[in-house]
């Protein structure tokens, strides 16, 4: 996605209907709407396309640099597309004490990627999350929103195979 041309004042009109609807639900210039707009955009695309940052800048009248500052400050926002299954490894205290680090290591070596990266076939994106709040099932991993608890590093291989088999 390229930079939005500044000579066209109503660049929002050129966007998808969903994005237009999303933006129009907030008043132009309403600065507090920035984070919700970014969150909802990520909800639509799974990441923040560059063009949306320019669009938001124009719509809310906030410099694009500030928007980039906000988007990089919060852990939630991503600038790259995610794979089909987002793997979230819980890095909370309870999971750490019960061996969550080994689970992450096993996933990294099995997928051949580091946390924050996506596999070449765009199937898995590996990420860590501060806490999923399912501490009694520690260590916990979610794959595409499904919870898997009380894991051993050995289980991880089988889990990944199951998801690969679905394809």
């Amino acid at each position: 996605m390229g930079k939005v041309c500044c000579c066209n004042k109503d660049s929002l009109a050129k966007q998808d209907e969903a994005i237009q609807k999303l933006f129009r639900s907030y008043a132009p210039g309403e600065k507090e709407a920035l984070i919700p707009i970014l969150q909802e955009t990520q909800g639509l695309y799974g990441y923040l396309p560059k063009s949306i940052l320019y669009l938001a800048s124009e719509y809310l009248n906030v410099p694009v640099g500030k928007i980039y500052g906000v988007a990089t400050f919060y852990n939630q926002f991503r600038f790259d597309p995610v794979g089909k299954y987002l793997i979230q490894v819980c890095a909370g205290t309870a999971c750490h004490v019960r061996g969550g680090g080994l689970i992450l290591q096993a996933l990294e070596s099995e997928l051949g990627i580091k946390a924050g990266e996506t596999t070449k076939n765009s199937l898995f994106t590996l990420s860590t999350v501060a806490c999923l709040g399912a501490c009694s099932m520690a260590p916990v991993v979610t794959i595409g929103g499904e919870f898997h608890g009380r894991l051993q590093p050995k289980d991880v291989v089988k889990l990944l195979r199951d998801y690969e088999m679905k394809e």
Partner: protein
């Protein structure tokens, strides 16, 4: 009648536009404005239906908080609903919040006519089928996974007392005193009616029509309620500051940005009983004179967000939230704001920045938010659990609340008990209880009968308490004296296999990542602390004299730097960030010394200090380890014993995990 709030007949005039002051009382005891036996009967029947006392229906309650859902509660729900429909048993299926006994998930409660509500633990599909066949159809109670009976305030509560004990006799429940969690796991959190049925919004009515704002504040001050988010500032006093501050608008914010990794109290309360928090907020708003409010929730809690939004919509539709609440003339508008994943936003000035659409960076105080907060207006911020206590204090009085807990810390505290205890989950205990009671009585001791080593309390801002301090009373002041803090309520128990240096490193890694970067002590200091810790958890046989000298200075350096950060960081999070290091240094110095001087990790957790060897007598040469080794450090011929090249080994431990013959030893 489809709801306690639908008009009983045309004489009922309550709508959102023409609200009644007596709405709440009318819903449970009504009708109040006119006498009509039929109307009364209709309401009472509806109440009976909601309480689970309908004589024709079987009620099935399934815990469907995030933890229950993670364990697969939705599958059990669908299965039971389908089976009961097939068998033509008239049933009400209810989704309730988290009861807190996380190790016993999935929990299913059944209430049959004439029977008390019976709770079953760790229900899978087989057990669900058995519950239907044996209990629901044939009135016999299946053994083995029975938790107890749940008192509902009904005449049938005691009808099984000879056979089944009460759930409050369950070890994890015995010493609990459930105020904040009074409704969690009991009612359907999405139902306003069920909350009202259990004395909900009674306190609000009392406040709006019989108390002046100052009286409300006095009551809360007298109760001794202190901020449950960690700081422990007296709640009533905080309200008074905002009430006295001058401003055209005033704001009220509920801090539900539960960032402590390993804590989930706020999530469970919001998921299990959102109305208790909202009622507390409306009362607080009335007391301080705020007309606008926000609940700032972590985006990682989608279910809590959905339930809050539903609760707000429900209240607005019934005239209990919005303009002219219950006809009192008081307006309060409430919005949900989603956080975006930043630990520092739990700090109040950072949270305000985040609501304003900026980066969440703390700013110096004063001015305090009470004088200049959201958009420069007076703002009051309290934690979820604090608000959940408010309605009870108003309803039952400050003296009642004061009688619970200790003189200086009244009331109860909810803890997320996790780690290596046998039972883990959410517990609510009176202040003043000892750590020993929590861990060994409620928690049931440690798994596999291992030795207790430490309890980490208060998350990244708290500290680790050793075995000698097990008898510390849990209240704000004694915890602070011991070098920990109440924090939001995370309580992680560690056993002999946990390395305390590794725990300190874990928290430092977290605070370093989450530091907002504004002040140097926190940004650079935590990075340096982590650097020292990273250095001592590995060993390099070829280190130079200079490097060794540096290593031997580590403990002194850690201590000095930690104190500097504590004294100079700009916000509460920075000032408390070194606590995990300081408290482990204080109580577990011998472990640091073993790492630094002997290059040995007593708990065998720090991989950088371990040596991996393959026992040639056990190894069968299957080659799996060589395949799994990411460094290619394992060599050997097939069917012959393999060998680890020490220089190449990254000590990741993958070989140990995958060796089918346990041939790899760690020392």
């Amino acid at each position: 009648m489809n709801s306690l709030f639908t008009p009983c007949c045309e004489k009922c005039t309550h709508t959102k536009e023409t609200p009644c002051a007596d709405l709440i009382k009318c819903a449970v005891e009504g009708p109040i404005c006119h006498e009509d036996k039929n109307c009364h009967k209709v309401k009472q029947n509806r109440l009976k239906y909601l309480q689970g006392a309908d004589s024709d229906l079987t009620y099935v309650y399934i815990g469907m908080g995030t933890c229950g859902l993670a364990a697969g509660a939705d599958k059990i729900y669908n299965f039971m609903a389908k089976q009961l429909e097939k068998k033509k048993i008239p049933t009400v299926m209810k989704k309730v919040g988290c009861f807190g006994l996380c190790t016993e998930e999935i929990m299913v409660d059944v209430k049959k006519p004439g029977f008390p509500r019976v709770s079953f633990a760790q229900v899978n599909l087989e057990r669900a089928a058995e519950i239907i066949d044996v209990f629901i159809e044939h009135d016999t109670i299946p053994e083995g996974y029975l938790l107890g009976t749940v008192p509902m305030g009904l005449s049938s509560d005691d009808s099984l007392q000879d056979q089944v004990h009460y759930i409050n006799d369950f070890p994890m429940m015995k010493k609990q005193q459930r105020l904040v969690l009074r409704n969690c796991g009991i009612i359907n959190p999405e139902s306003l009616e069920e909350y009202v049925m259990r004395r909900g919004y009674k306190a609000l009515t009392k406040v709006l029509f019989s108390m002046k704002p100052d009286e409300v504040i006095t009551e809360v001050i007298d109760s001794g309620l202190r901020g449950r988010g960690g700081g422990g500032f007296p709640t009533g006093k905080k309200w008074l500051f905002t009430r006295k501050a001058e401003g055209k608008r005033k704001f009220l914010i509920c801090n539900a940005d539960e960032g402590d990794p390993g804590a989930f109290m706020d999530r469970s309360v919001l998921e299990g009983d959102p109305h208790s928090v909202i009622e507390g907020m409306i009362i607080a708003a009335y007391a301080i004179g705020a007309e606008e409010g926000y609940i700032y929730v972590r985006a990682e809690y989608p279910l809590a967000i959905a339930r809050l939004k539903k609760a707000i919509a429900n209240l607005e539709a019934n005239g209990i939230l919005g303009d002219n609440i219950l006809g009192s003339g008081f307006n309060f508008h409430l919005k949900v704001k989603m956080g975006a994943g930043a630990f520092v936003c739990g700090e109040e000035t950072a949270l305000i920045g985040s609501i304003e659409g900026k980066r969440g960076i703390p700013r110096p105080r004063p001015p305090y938010p009470a004088n200049s907060g959201l958009w420069g207006y007076p703002t009051n911020i309290n934690n979820v659990e604090t608000f959940a206590n408010v309605a009870l204090i108003i309803d039952k009085g400050a003296n009642w609340f004061k009688s619970i807990g200790t003189p200086k810390s009244s009331g109860t505290k909810v803890f997320a008990l996790t780690g290596k205890t046998k039972n883990s989950g959410l517990i609510e205990v009176p202040m003043g209880i000892s750590l020993r009671e929590i861990i060994f009585e409620l928690g049931g001791g440690l798994q596999n009968d291992k030795q207790f080593k430490a309890a980490q309390i208060g998350g990244p801002s708290g500290g680790c308490l050793p075995v000698e301090l097990l008898d510390t009373a849990i209240d704000y002041d004694s915890l602070q004296r011991a070098g920990a803090m109440m924090g939001s309520g995370g309580l992680v128990v560690m056993d002999e296999d946990t390395c305390m240096v590794d725990v300190a490193r874990f928290f430092l890694n977290f605070t370093k990542k989450e530091s907002c970067g504004k002040c140097i002590p926190c940004r650079e200091g935590t990075a340096r602390l982590l650097e020292v810790l990273e250095n001592i958890v590995k060993s390099n046989p070829n280190s130079s004299e200079e490097e060794l000298q540096k290593r031997y200075q580590s403990i002194n350096q850690l201590e000095r730097l930690a104190h500097v950060i504590k004294d100079t960081a700009a916000c509460g999070l920075g000032q408390t960030a070194p606590n995990p290091v300081l408290s482990t240094l204080k109580y577990f110095k011998n472990e640091y010394e073993a790492h630094v001087y002997d290059k040995r990790c007593p708990a065998k957790q720090c991989r950088g200090l371990l040596v991996y060897r393959i026992n040639p007598k056990v190894c069968r040469g299957c080659g799996i380890c060589a395949k799994k080794c990411p460094q290619g450090a394992i060599v050997g011929e097939r069917a012959h014993s393999h060998f680890i090249v020490p220089d190449k080994c990254a000590r990741c431990g993958a070989c140990v995990e995958f060796c089918p013959f346990d041939a790899i030893t760690v020392s």
